[in-house]
């Protein structure tokens, strides 16, 4: 995949394309960003462009022998390292080391999850980075760059991937998955701008079902249609869901959507404009605001503490019911 197939990251794109055009690619590049932010895609695109034999200025051609070998996963001068087991050990670096100092064309070594290198491995890498052989390029990827030795980070050109904007994500999902803007926008919010996460969700066959389920639940909770007894049963079944926090985040999104509709009217950008009108007579802005706060608190407890999921859910659902009942729309 070339840079032209990737979306967003204007700053990184400008820097890398500029470096490729002038032939001044740094011998060590560190790309960081949370999981799903596109580190590997950008790293691979850079590697392909560096190795490409008929580069058209700033991007790989995608047609030469080098690009074909690269895309087939059998480029002899591309070394792809990823942790074997829990760490990335010295043996993995040693196996390649002999190749680094030979005469030859450009070689690229891509290291995934670079922060998992053992102390020996990073010392060995540092030794190479201190006196880099000509035309050997390292691309380090890391979700936690602060755990990398500072001596290594200081020898790398650093780039941090940014979350994609709503429009970029809509474009990405339209191109890759042919999704409608409405669904793409929902995915963009849910994935918090991380393209890897959004694409994974888009490929999930149960995704539509989960959306419909969450939307229905959000509405029925706001309409106070369950008895307290039913709520307790609901808490039990929810607590057994593996995707509980994702499900609760969906609820938050729907309440937020309703709140925006109540405050700004139908011209505001909504996730589900068709569903928004239904909310008008059901819940008040104050109740929705409090419901959001309650759900955020629950999500935080579930994520950070060892709370009993079922008890926490029971408490929150009952409180939600009371809020919605006390201030109906």
């Amino acid at each position: 995949m070339g840079f032209k197939d990737l979306i967003g990251q204007a700053e990184l794109r400008r820097a890398l394309e500029g470096a490729l055009r002038t032939g001044a690619v740094s011998h060590a590049v560190l790309i960081s960003g949370p999981p799903g932010s596109g580190k590997k895609s950008w790293g691979l695109a850079l590697a392909e462009a560096v190795l490409c034999m008929e580069r058209e200025g700033r991007d790989s051609c995608g047609r030469c022998l080098s690009c074909r070998q690269f895309r087939a996963g059998c480029h002899p001068d591309f070394f792809h390292l990823r942790p074997e087991g829990r760490r990335l050990g010295i043996d993995q670096i040693r196996r390649l080391r002999g190749r680094f100092f030979l005469e030859g064309d450009s070689r690229v070594c891509l290291i995934e999850e670079a922060e998992l290198m053992t102390a020996e491995a990073s010392a060995s890498l540092l030794k190479i980075l201190e006196e880099p052989p000509p035309r050997l390029y390292f691309i380090l990827l890391s979700g936690r760059p602060r755990q990398l030795p500072r001596t290594i980070v200081s020898r790398c050109q650093r780039f941090t991937l940014r979350p994609l904007t709503g429009e970029e994500m809509v474009e990405l999902l339209r191109q890759r998955q042919g999704l409608s803007p409405e669904k793409a926008l929902l995915l963009s919010r849910l994935s918090k701008g991380l393209p890897g996460v959004a694409l994974e969700l888009a490929e999930d066959p149960l995704f539509e079902k989960r959306i419909a389920e969450a939307s229905k639940l959000a509405y029925s909770l706001a309409a106070c249609s369950q008895t307290p007894r039913e709520l307790l049963f609901l808490a039990e079944s929810l607590s057994e869901r593996e995707d509980l926090s994702f499900f609760l985040e969906l609820l938050c999104l729907f309440y937020r959507d309703a709140l925006i509709y109540l405050l700004c009217g139908s011209r505001a950008p909504l996730l589900q404009p068709s569903a928004a009108e239904r909310w008008a007579g059901v819940a008040s802005a104050a109740a929705l605001e409090e419901a959001l706060a309650l759900l955020q608190k629950l999500l935080q407890e579930l994520g950070e503490t060892n709370v009993n999921r079922r008890l926490a859910l029971e408490g929150t659902l009952l409180q939600l019911k009371r809020r919605f009942a006390s201030c109906p729309g």
């Binding site: 059998c74 002899p76 190749r99 100092f101 030979l102």
Partner: protein, 368 residues
């Protein structure tokens, strides 16, 4: 149509090519052997990007096809029950059928399109050197043992081939010792250049040289060094490292010069080394006029032995790494050796009698 080949020849060829396989590589083409047949020859090649080996077998036939063979092919051929093997490649799916006696293998070969090209280098006019394989093997063995096996300085993992107009100098060092061997003959006219060949590759080459009788043609393009043995083509990627200038290291004078019997000295040092301890395996040499004392003293005990020598110059008393001395005593192709000393801390130089082309230099261990 099948190719019929002698099992012995095919097996020997595969064993040679196999040396360039990189079995741990995640890339299929680097762990497979490339097979190609044309109307005149059969070619087997392998590369791990450090080494390229190609074996060309003469063969007359119409069959033409190519495929990547899995690394098990060597053992498969070796264990075949018959003396002749028939082989054919399906150009559609690269499946390879091997038949020998009543044994039949059907191997799932791979598409050879992704195999990195192993093209023979084309030597520039007059820039090749032709050597007798036994002689070249001897030369390499006298040089290669001094290469470092430590990773910290890649230049010292190689042997420097320094081409000068009238001769080739082979230089090898691990910073504690140094070997220089000059090879020259009339008619050579090289563009001066320095090529650093990894010792690892040369060790593989040595194994092939010892089985070969054809002349070795040696040439380079500045990125690779090619050793063409006729039916076997061997190329090693050069190290892209700076090699220090060694001319200032070799002393022009000496304070003591002795000649000694190589095998007697070897036996004596081997005996002394039994007590020498890591990390520097030190032994003590006391050089007098007509005798040299080899001594060692360690936590285990002491040993002393006297060797008769012919000497001139000052007496000298120094410590050396016994392994470094054993290496030269084992590799030197002469029964008498000349050794020059330069005081207690100066370099020790080993030379062959009546042969200016070789020297081995060791630094003594500094003792307070």
């Amino acid at each position: 149509m099948s190719i019929i080949l002698s099992k012995e020849i095919l097996s020997r060829s595969l064993e040679i090519v196999e040396k360039a396989l990189s079995r741990q590589s995640p890339l299929l083409p680097l762990k497979n052997i490339h097979f190609e047949s044309s109307s005149q020859s059969i070619t087997l090649s392998a590369t791990n990007m450090e080494l390229q080996i190609k074996v060309i077998l003469p063969y007359e036939g119409e069959y033409s096809g190519k495929a990547l063979l899995p690394p098990q092919i060597t053992e498969i051929v070796r264990l075949m029950p018959s003396t002749e093997i028939s082989l054919d490649v399906d150009p559609e799916n690269y499946q390879v059928n091997l038949t020998g006696g009543r044994t039949r293998y059907n191997l799932f070969g791979a598409d050879p399109a992704d195999f990195p090209a192993v093209e023979k280098l084309a030597p520039a006019e007059g820039e090749t050197m032709s050597l007798d394989p036994a002689e070249f093997s001897q030369i390499l063995k006298m040089v290669i043992f001094a290469a470092s096996t430590e990773e910290s300085r890649p230049a010292f993992n190689g042997v420097l081939f320094e081409f000068k107009e009238d001769r080739l100098s082979l230089i090898c060092s691990d910073t504690y010792r140094l070997v220089v061997k000059n090879v020259s003959a009339a008619g050579w006219n090289f563009t001066p250049r320095r090529c650093l060949v990894p010792a690892k590759a040369l060790r593989e080459l040595l194994r092939i040289l010892d089985q070969s009788e054809d002349k070795v043609l040696l040439y380079t393009d500045g990125k690779k060094m090619a050793f063409d043995l006729g039916s076997v083509y061997f190329a090693a990627a050069l190290l892209n490292e700076k090699y220090p200038d060694i001319s200032s290291v070799i002393p022009q004078r000496f304070s003591t010069r002795i000649s000694l019997n190589r095998s007697e000295m070897e036996k004596s040092v081997v005996r002394a080394a039994l007590l020498a301890e890591a990390p520097n395996y030190a032994i003590n040499l006391f050089v007098g006029r007509d005798a040299m004392k080899v001594r060692v003293s360690s936590q285990v005990g002491r040993m002393e032995e006297e060797l008769s020598i012919e000497g001139e110059g000052e007496e000298v008393d120094l410590y050396v790494n016994s392994r470094f001395i054993m290496d030269i005593l084992r590799a030197a192709p002469a029964e008498t050796l000349i050794v020059e000393f330069n005081g207690k801390n100066g370099p020790i130089v080993f030379r062959l009698p009546e042969d200016e082309s070789y020297l081995y230099l060791v630094l003594p261990i500094k003792m307070d």
